[in-house]
């Protein structure tokens, strides 16, 4: 049959190629096992609290995103997400006496973060989750654990001289549909022409292809995209918003919120927060950890 012949040709080609090695494969071999955050072994919590329940269960379900460079990306080899959000979630779990291997990761997207928290499908969400008033109606936030700033990425050399969001007027600007940065542009810079995809890598490709003039979102994500193709892309480097990222949890669980806030503050001072940054976002961007934000116990 013809198909068998095609398949055979393809397989032969595959074998030939399997002989060579790919950069991705070489890199995967180099990376040593990532160090993980400390796990408290000797902890106890007041009975009845969420902390006690989770500690006794010995396992926890965390919602995160898996398509945010620097914050949460799924590693195809380990099947576990990696990134700053993920490390923060591990720090919190560690203080509950739960090892990283016992964390069950669930992908939460913008459309289901609130409902997953409300329904108890996840215990908490660390997913580039901007704290705002509309969301506070539905869920509670611990943190912030990070202050993001929206920035702009342009083609290398910045041919259109885009220095600030005001320069975006009349330009094709790419972001992700349903993201806060995209809404920012709509609300405050309506003259920019938005191009919206479902993931940032498509925006980066569109920039390389000349299909868009600029990409805008959180500066860490953009730095990650620049790091992948430094010869084609560059960062404007002037963040123009402040987006506090918080940990979302069930509304009304004040004890749990206070506990997470304590954990975050501790991690700010004992260096584990900065270490988490260096392992993830810092590794991509090559930048040192910023000043930790001020926890907001509203």
């Amino acid at each position: 049959m013809r198909i068998t012949r095609y398949a055979a040709t393809l397989a032969a080609l595959g074998l030939a190629l399997a002989g060579c090695s790919s950069n991705a494969g070489n890199q995967a071999q180099d990376t040593s096992a990532q160090s993980t955050s400390a796990v408290e072994t000797n902890v106890s919590f007041a009975p009845g609290t969420t902390m006690a329940k989770l500690h006794d269960a010995g396992t926890i379900t965390v919602g995160t995103k898996i398509d945010q460079p620097g914050f949460g990306l799924l590693n195809p080899r380990t099947k576990v997400p990696e990134g700053f959000d993920v490390e923060i979630a591990k720090i919190v779990a560690g203080k509950l006496g739960i090892a990283p291997e016992s964390i069950k990761w669930t992908e939460t997207v913008s459309a289901n973060r609130e409902s997953f928290i409300q329904n108890g499908q996840v215990d908490y969400v660390v997913a580039t989750y901007t704290i705002n008033d509309a969301r506070k109606q539905l869920v509670d936030f611990a943190g912030p654990y990070y202050e993001a700033g929206q920035d702009i990425m342009v083609a290398n050399g910045n041919p259109l001289k885009i220095e600030s969001p005001d320069d975006l007027a009349g330009k094709n600007v790419c972001s992700v549909e349903g993201s806060t940065p995209a809404q920012n542009i709509r609300d405050h810079y309506p003259q920019a022409k938005l191009t919206l995809f479902d993931v940032y890598s498509k925006c980066a490709d569109a920039l390389d292809n000349g299909q868009v003039d600029a990409v805008t979102t959180d500066n860490v994500i953009l730095t990650g995209l620049v790091a992948g193709s430094p010869d084609k892309r560059e960062l404007v480097g002037k963040p123009f918003t402040q987006e506090p990222y918080g940990i979302g949890l069930k509304k009304g669980d004040t004890e749990f919120r206070n506990f997470i806030n304590d954990v975050l503050e501790e991690s700010f001072t004992d260096g584990s927060w900065a270490a988490a940054w260096d392992r993830t976002a810092g590794k991509i961007t090559g930048q040192k950890a910023p000043e930790p934000p001020q926890v907001n116990r509203y």
């Binding site: 349903g178 993201s179 292809n209 299909q211």
Partner: protein, 215 residues
């Protein structure tokens, strides 16, 4: 309800985008699909092979993949196409394969005697197809073509992932800021599609009755 009223302009624009995308892609699919069907019954074997290759490839590929190659594959051979034209092309080229299959089944349904009679009076292949077979074939394939049209309308939603602000793109866009109104957004989107599909189904139904051939 208040939420829908507040965002009426968004829903209206998205609806118009879906409608124009559907109409343009529909015309493209109809023209190209008919041409492909004609090729598939033509006397020249390589042309038949070419049309078969086209139909089989597009039928067996998810539309999302077609979109991907249109928007991000073409620039790799230094062609850049706009997002809306790219969406029209993707949906149109994909649907053409199904139109071709529908029209071909219509051609097969025209009785062989008619084609033989046409040849007997000296009509060429092109004339036989144009003057005798296709007019009848189209009348028998009104219902399947109508169904292809309606299926195509729902398929335009894939364009949401490729920067076309059509109806389904409202789901992620509105839900991010208004997670509490998830059901309302869903409802608005569904109604938007129904505004196109229900009248379409009605027109197809009427047309079917008017042109049906009694055998």
């Amino acid at each position: 309800m208040q939420f829908l009223i507040d965002n009426f302009a968004l829903f209206r624009d998205a609806f118009l985008t879906t409608l124009s995308l559907s109409l343009l892609a529909g015309v493209l699919a109809l023209v190209l699909g008919t041409l492909l069907a004609a090729l598939r019954v033509s006397p020249v074997a390589p042309l038949r092979g070419l049309a078969t290759f086209y139909v089989e490839t597009f039928r067996n590929t998810p539309l999302t993949v077609v979109f991907f190659f249109m928007i991000f594959g073409l620039p790799q051979i230094d062609f850049v196409i706009g997002f809306f034209p790219g969406a029209v092309l993707s949906v149109g080229l994909y649907t053409a394969a199904f139109v071709a299959e529908a029209v071909r089944s219509g051609i097969n349904a025209v009785s062989a005697g008619q084609a033989e009679a046409s040849r007997a009076i000296g009509l060429t292949f092109g004339q036989t197809l144009r003057e005798v077979v296709l007019p009848q074939a189209f009348r028998t394939v009104v219902p399947p073509l109508g169904n292809v049209w309606i299926a195509m309308i729902k398929n335009t939603s894939i364009a949401a992932g490729f920067s076309v602000s059509e109806l389904s793109s409202l789901l992620p866009r509105l839900v991010n800021a208004n997670a509490g109104d998830l059901l309302t957004v869903l409802l608005g989107v569904v109604v938007g599609y129904m505004l196109i599909t229900l009248p379409s189904a009605y027109v197809v139904h009427r047309l079917e009755r008017r042109v049906a051939i009694l055998r």
